[in-house]
Amino acid sequence: MDMWIKVLYDMSANMILPTTAAFAIAAIGLNVHFGFTGLLNMGQAGFMLIGAYGFSVATIAGLPFWAATLVTIAAGTIFALLLGIPTLKLRGDYLAIVTIAAAEIVRMIGRASVLNSVTGGSNGLPGETYRNTFSALSPFPDGKTAFLWFDFDNTGVNGWFIRIVAWSLVVIFAVLVWLLMRSPWGRVIKGIREDEDAVRSLGKNVFAFKMQALIIGGVLGAIGGMFYVLPTSVQPDALGRNMTFLIWTAMLLGGAATIWGPVLGSALFFALRIFIQGTVDILIPDAILNTQQTEQFSWIMVGVALMLLVIFRPQGILGDKKELNFNV
């Protein structure tokens, strides 16, 4: 029985991790790209990594927190411009190819040993080197606070402060996306998702709208990356193709083109993986699958879940089947 309670505790604790919030922010960004605008961004982790480097390198160079945050936003914007200018006039698949490649290039450059002094090469940058400007903003006193069954530091690495800030940002960004999508701007974006030429024929500059969407989603990716590394460390390999794939899974799970889908999807995604791992751990003896193997098994199940999802419920949990299934 205790083991099951531990699984439930782990599930709930994972759902509210700051990295889960960071992941959700990146998923909201990807949803602006794919869900609403129809842009195939296959390198959202690249935006996250760019944001992570932007913040950490700027902070280590001595910039205060807000300036480093601006660097993060600028980095996401520039990356989006670089990717968008050559590809957004072409067919959608080009963006997919270019974003995969660009994300890999960012990771490779980050790992390159010639940049050891800036990016830390393949070892990355430890969190202590750039975390303090953020922790210093905490209004909370030292010590710990218990809430429900959680008991965390007020300001520590994974404490209440970063959790509250990161999840508040999730809510703020979701609301901002909602404001955008109910506006005439959002209407154009959704029109583009379906048929660019139709929208062009009505006098809208499709390229400019797509570029704006690419930048917004990319900046959200960069901010997600910044909050992903604040409680951890900058590890280029942690923000690689795998991460992009997981963000896609979370977004599709919750429901693309919905406001709360990416958020729900992210929280559920982590909870589910812990659930699978915990259940398998309890039910299957170590002789057959040891703990390390159950973790691998849980990731395999994530892949299977994505396949089943796309086949049986392509609109995700919150999505509207009609919006997806009207094939022209």
Partner: protein, 316 residues
């Protein structure tokens, strides 16, 4: 519909009486002037128009057998395709042979499709492009131009665009009533029939108050019960001052509402003139019978009824 505009529409039509009935004839008040527009698809020359003028304020029909290049011609002048004869930085045709066209006094070659639409030349598509996953109303609202809420920052602040949106909704409702789509306004456009999608596309194009509207086979698939009133709408558009250029296969419709007919065959303009005259033109008969025996009743009906249908024209 003030008397003043009505008069200009009648005047514009009257002016056509003086126009020579030869391919490429110049018009007294041309809104669209096209020169040297050529489009090759591989070895196939789809469009090869030396010169064409479209009179302002009248209804011009563009007819011709299937594959004559009408849709491609529409695509070219609305910026959805580029002529093979376009001016190039290096090489390309000499200046006097390069493609060139102007709309409403503004040179348009090399203009992006969106800017062409903004300049007042708005088109519809032969294969409808109703946005299926948006509602009928959202489709309509997309058609409105100069929307404040379409700028990124203003989009966040509803009070900045709410009033304009309300006005656009009222306008859209009016148009939807005219096109018998009002009851469907909250339905997804994907649930409409093919004919209703055509109507929606036309209504949507009208949201921007175009100077000239270009309709590619507007009647294809439209419920026959509706065509009569649709013809009326097109005529009243003209009477309110909009120039109409449309492609159509239905000869009855062409004869019924067009003030001027341009005939294309194998990419070229082979004849122009008033409907009844042009349809008995030898070049036109050749074009239809020679290139295209499989057109149905349209052709035979065209040859037999050509002259005797003319009096019915003023029925409306």
């Amino acid at each position: 519909m003030s008397n003043a505009t009505k008069k200009t529409a009648t005047e514009a039509r009257a002016e056509l009486k003086t126009v020579k009935q030869t391919p490429g004839a110049s018009k007294p008040d041309a809104i669209l002037v096209v020169d040297n527009v050529v489009r090759d698809f591989g070895g196939n020359r789809a469009v090869d128009v030396d010169h064409l003028e479209v009179q302002r304020g009248v209804i011009t029909a563009l007819i011709g057998p299937n594959g004559a290049g009408k849709t491609t011609f529409f695509n070219l002048i609305t910026g959805f395709d580029q002529p093979s004869s376009a001016k190039k930085m290096f090489g390309g045709p000499s200046a006097d042979k390069a493609a060139k066209w102007s709309f409403n006094g503004k040179l348009l070659g090399n203009t992006a499709a969106a800017s062409v639409a903004k300049s007042g030349m708005v088109r519809t598509f032969q294969l409808t492009k109703a946005l299926s996953r948006l509602t009928v109303m959202q489709n309509m609202l997309l058609g409105a131009k100069d929307q404040r809420g379409e700028s990124f920052l203003a989009a966040f602040v509803k009070p900045l665009w709410a009033a304009q949106e309300k006005a656009n909704i009222a306008k859209a409702e009016d148009l939807l009533k005219r096109f018998k789509l009002y009851e469907k306004k909250e339905d997804l456009a994907g649930s409409l029939s093919g004919g209703q999608k055509k109507l929606l596309e036309m209504a949507r194009a009208l949201m921007s108050d175009p100077v000239m509207i270009m309709l590619d086979e507007p009647m294809a698939g439209v419920n026959p019960a509706l065509t009569q009133s649709l013809l009326g709408h097109i005529q009243s558009l003209r009477d309110e001052g909009t120039t109409v250029l449309f492609v159509e296969h239905d000869m009855h419709m062409v004869r019924h509402i067009s003030d001027w007919v341009v005939v294309m065959a194998e990419g070229r303009v082979v004849a122009e003139g008033p409907a009844d005259t042009v349809m008995s033109d030898q070049a036109v008969i050749d074009a239809y019978l020679g290139a295209h025996h499989d057109t149905d009743l349209g052709d035979d009906a065209l040859l037999e009824e050509g002259a005797m249908d003319a009096p019915k024209k003023e029925k409306k």
